[in-house]
């Protein structure tokens, strides 16, 4: 394996760990707001690491650029949708979790 392949593998595994943590949070956290908080970590950082890991291996700048654009779009849509879900939940009177 070459250096770039090692780098790519490390980034991909790190990204997968973020997704694992995000999924665990989604399953285990007590209310909708904390679950959203866990999900955004997987969406933003996890996907970002995976995109960088794949971009290292990509053959052209064009395909790397497409990967980055995908990441930007997911972050933009993800952040907006999380906000909409949270504000929708607040409007319906779902209370914040307190210990």
């Amino acid at each position: 394996m070459t250096l770039s392949e090692y780098l790519s593998a490390i980034l991909l595994i790190a990204g997968a760990l973020f997704f694992l943590a995000g999924t665990l949070g989604l399953l285990r956290f007590p209310d909708i707001y904390t679950r959203l908080h866990a999900l955004t970590k997987a969406d933003n950082v996890g996907l970002g690491l995976i995109v960088i890991g794949l971009a290292v291996q990509s053959e052209s700048f064009a395909s790397a650029g497409k990967l980055f654009l995908t990441w930007l779009l997911v972050m933009f849509a993800g952040a907006s949708v999380s906000h909409l879900i949270a504000s929708g939940a607040l409007q319906r009177g779902i209370r914040l979790w307190k210990r």
């Binding site: 779009l73 933009f76 849509a77 907006s80 906000h83 909409l84 504000s87």
Partner: protein, 321 residues
């Protein structure tokens, strides 16, 4: 590499079992909303399965239409159901219906089991590696006008399938419109976040649709994928409160709805009149004919799907209020 094939085998097995499990969960779900969410998840995993089967075209269509737009359509239908009667009643009704149709359910399960067994037998008895029609497609690619075999099959060699699909979509919309149901009352103020999202995302979605349409000539993509992305832009606009203005929603809307299937049918009729064969494009014009048909089909598919989401002809609102 031995470990790699083992890993992919494990992944594929998990994917297949996951699909079956999700399908079971969603069919058994008492709550309609939960069933819809599971359906969307099922669609996304199904798209992954198509990728594993080396069918990126189908994967794109499954993710965009199967998971995305159908999910939005189902949610819109659920919103209408809930506005008709409270969920409590419908749940009770559902339980009573289930009791009534128990015997019917067993019969249906038996029939489905027989079909599954038959299909399973066919799959197992097929030769493990078969060329199918791929050699013939490859031999005729030069005459097709495009360089992507899937597009060549969909728009040229088996064009009438796609032609009929476009009409099915149009018929579906006519069916929904003829119910004459009222439009869902969305929350009146969309809020700054949804408006900003729509503001930036709609142009991007239109660009992506154009790209998917153009790239379909030589890579995975095409009218249905592009149309569903266009429809996603339409759904976003409708969700943030936009409605086509009065004059736009009458003749121009109907013109766009029939343009795709119409152009396709006219092309077929003209070719039949002059060449005696339905949809047998002359080789030198095949590329441009396919592009024209796909471009109008993309518009029609996008607008039809968005109109399905709206659920009733847009000018109805104005007549009522």
């Amino acid at each position: 590499m031995e470990t790699l094939t083992l890993l992919t085998l494990v992944f594929d097995t998990l994917l297949g079992l996951g699909l079956l499990w999700l399908a079971w969960l969603l069919l058994n779900s008492q709550e309609l909303f939960k069933a819809i969410v599971l359906f969307v998840a099922f669609g996304l995993l199904m798209a992954l399965a198509w990728v594993r089967l080396d069918a990126p075209d189908v994967a794109l269509a499954e993710a965009a239409i199967g998971a995305g737009l159908t999910g939005a359509l189902l949610l819109a239908a659920l919103a209408k159901l809930q506005s008709v009667k409270s969920t409590q009643d419908s749940n009770q009704q559902l339980k009573q219906d289930r009791e009534k149709f128990r015997a019917f359910q067993y019969l249906l399960s038996l029939m489905l089991l027989l079909i599954t067994a038959g299909l399973g037998y066919v799959v197992i008895s097929m030769p493990p590696i078969a060329a199918g029609l791929s050699n013939e497609v490859a031999a005729n690619m030069a005459n097709s006008g495009v360089s992507h075999p899937v597009t060549a099959v969909l728009l040229n060699f088996r064009g009438y399938d796609t032609l009929l699909e476009l009409f099915v979509l149009l018929l579906a919309l006519l069916g929904v419109w003829s119910f004459g149901s009222t439009t869902i009352q969305h929350e009146t103020n969309a809020g700054p976040v949804l408006l900003t999202l729509t503001h930036y995302l709609v142009p991007v979605l239109i660009l992506v649709a154009a790209y998917l349409l153009w790239v379909g000539a030589h890579a995975p993509g095409g009218a249905f994928q592009a149309g569903s992305v266009l429809a996603a832009a339409g759904v976003l606009l409708l969700l943030s409160g936009w409605r086509p203005s009065g004059c736009l929603s009458k003749f121009p809307l109907r013109l766009i709805l029939v343009a795709g299937p119409g152009l396709f049918a006219i092309t077929a009729a003209l070719l039949y009149a002059f060449q005696g064969e339905l949809l047998n494009y002359p080789t030198e014009y095949a590329g441009i004919i396919i592009l024209a048909i796909e471009a109008t089909a993309t518009l029609s598919i996008g607008v039809t799907l968005a109109a399905l989401f709206l659920g009733s002809p847009p000018h109805n609102d104005e007549e009522h209020t």
